[in-house]
Structures are given as structure tokens and as C-alpha cells.
């Protein structure tokens, strides 16, 4: 009888969550500080060994995009040179459409050279590389011009 009464007794006690709260207060700012909210990717480049610094394109079309401050110039062997003015907002779309058309006409072609004068900004080059990759021209070479006039190339995989 006494046992049953003891069983029914309600024990009132507050759950002490203070230690847990303390832990959270320390952990959350620490993790927030170390969390990386921007996602960083890579564009892999494959530089040719020093001996083969100036590479000659093996493909027949020898497609090249020249990134100038005011225009893109797309040229290739047997192609009519196409100039796209960069002051228009649709310049990137026009370039993508033109490259896509070229790619469809020459499905075996995947190589493209990006020629840049020294003052062109890095972001502009990355944008053109993105456009080339998006239409399937994935074998990208970056070509600068040294004073002697011969190109130095670095290839993207």
C-alpha cells in the first residue's frame, strides 16, 4: 500500500540546461566563424613543360578568341573573322551563340585559344573560358604575347 502511494508521487524538478546552453554559446560562434559560406571551385590548367612552351595547335580549325577591351574577335582557319562589340549587354550571349554554331559545324573540335592583351582583366578571361566550356570547347589555351611576338601558352584541361 505504501509502495503504491510512493509510485504515484510526482517529482517536480527543473531540467538544468545551463551547461548545455553554455556549450552551445561557445560552439555556435566558433563554427560560424570557421564556416565557409562561399564555395570555391577550381579551373584546372595544364601548363606545357618548358621545352614545349610554344605549342602548335594540332586541330585543323585553330579556333582563337581574342579578348580586347572593346570587342571579341573570333577567328579560325577557313572561317570568316567575326567581331563582337563588347559594349552591348548581349556580347557574351552573342559570343556563346557564335561558338555554339561553330562547334555544331565542327563537332570534332574542342580546342580553342584565348588571346589576351596584357591589360585585360582576369574576370573577363574567366568569363570567356566559361563561355567556351559551356559550348563544349573544353581544351582551352591561354595565350599572351611577349615582345618578341611569339605566343606563350598555358593549356586548360
Amino acid at each position: 500500500m505504501a509502495r503504491r502511494r510512493g509510485y504515484r508521487k510526482i517529482i517536480e524538478a527543473d531540467l538544468d540546461i545551463m551547461p548545455l546552453m553554455n556549450l552551445f554559446v561557445v560552439l555556435i560562434p566558433m563554427l560560424l566563424l570557421s564556416a565557409v559560406f562561399v564555395e570555391i571551385s577550381a579551373i584546372d590548367m595544364d601548363a606545357p613543360a618548358a621545352a614545349e612552351e610554344v605549342s602548335t595547335p594540332r586541330e585543323s580549325l585553330d579556333l582563337a578568341i581574342e579578348v580586347r577591351a572593346d570587342r571579341y574577335v573570333v577567328r579560325g582557319r577557313g572561317l570568316r573573322e567575326r567581331t563582337i562589340a563588347r559594349d552591348e549587354a548581349s556580347a557574351d550571349t552573342t559570343l556563346a551563340a557564335h561558338l555554339d554554331r561553330l562547334r555544331r559545324d565542327h563537332p570534332d573540335e574542342s580546342a580553342v585559344r584565348i588571346l589576351s592583351p596584357p591589360r585585360v582583366r582576369y574576370q573577363e578571361i574567366i568569363t570567356v573560358m566559361d563561355i567556351s566550356r559551356s559550348v563544349g570547347l573544353g581544351a582551352i589555351s591561354l595565350v599572351g604575347r611577349d615582345p618578341a611576338g611569339s605566343g606563350r601558352t598555358v593549356e586548360a584541361r
Binding site: 552551445f24 560552439l27 566550356r133
Partner: protein, 143 residues
């Protein structure tokens, strides 16, 4: 309150674990945006800000108005080549002590500022290439 904190904690822990390699962009470098989704691997990092080139947080060379390619057309950045040589020696030494070759010994990541002129990128890449780092990755923000 406790529920919110628990959810937040789990979310943060998950993002921390899922990242794998924690890549911290240099504070003075504003990376370009790209649609590339390739994962960045751990490697040597060369940070090219608007006014300086640094490696591992240490200044390698300043990029002032005087930073121009010499007239003979040699694109090599001597200070960077020296630092790369040191880094290579350290890596080789570490690999020898560990007793296994470093798989990514030729890999280098360039964190370049989006406003960097192509001239600088070209010279940095040329220097990496000349120093035997042929496997170059350009760090970009996922756009």
C-alpha cells in the same frame, strides 16, 4: 530556443564536415566568379592581390607601377621562383621523411584578384611552369 540552437549546431557541423578541404581565400583577394564546379584540391597557394603577390600569407613581391616585364621579354618573377623553389625543397624533404612520394608535388593553386591584369597572371603562370609546377589550378567563386 534549444531546438533552434540544436538545429543550427547540426547544420554548422554538417557544413564543416561536408567541405572536406577548407579553403580560405586571402582576405585582400576578390576571386572571379565562374560556373566551374571542379573541386579545389589541397596544394600550394599563390595569392595575387591588386598590389602584391603572397604565398602562405607572406609577401613575395609587391606589384607596384615598377612591376613590368623586362625589355628582354623574360616573364619570370624571380622572387616568386625563389619561393617556389624553397617550397619544393620543403615538400621533397617532407615526402622523404614520410617515406612516400608527394602525389601533388607539381600542383599549385592561384588565387587571383578579379581585377588583376592578364599580364600578371601570365607572368605568375610562366614562373610556376618554369619552377616545375605544371599542374596549375585557378581558384574561382562558384557563380
Amino acid at each position: 530556443m534549444m531546438d533552434i540552437l540544436t538545429v543550427l549546431l547540426l547544420f554548422l557541423l554538417k557544413s564543416f564536415v561536408a567541405d572536406g578541404e577548407v579553403v580560405t581565400p586571402s582576405p585582400d583577394v576578390e576571386l572571379p566568379t565562374s560556373e566551374s564546379r571542379d573541386a579545389l584540391e589541397e596544394s600550394l597557394v599563390i595569392a595575387v592581390a591588386e598590389d602584391r603577390i603572397s604565398m602562405g600569407g607572406e609577401l613575395v613581391t609587391a606589384l607596384g607601377p615598377g612591376f613590368r616585364a623586362p625589355d628582354d621579354g623574360d616573364l619570370l618573377i624571380v622572387a616568386l621562383a625563389d619561393r617556389l623553389e624553397q617550397a619544393r625543397a620543403q615538400r621533397d624533404d617532407l615526402a622523404a621523411r614520410r617515406g612516400r612520394p608527394d602525389q601533388r608535388k607539381n600542383r599549385v593553386t592561384i588565387q587571383g584578384d578579379r581585377s588583376m591584369p592578364f599580364e600578371v597572371l601570365e607572368r605568375v603562370m610562366y614562373t610556376c611552369n618554369q619552377s616545375g609546377f605544371h599542374d596549375i589550378a585557378l581558384a574561382v567563386l562558384r557563380g
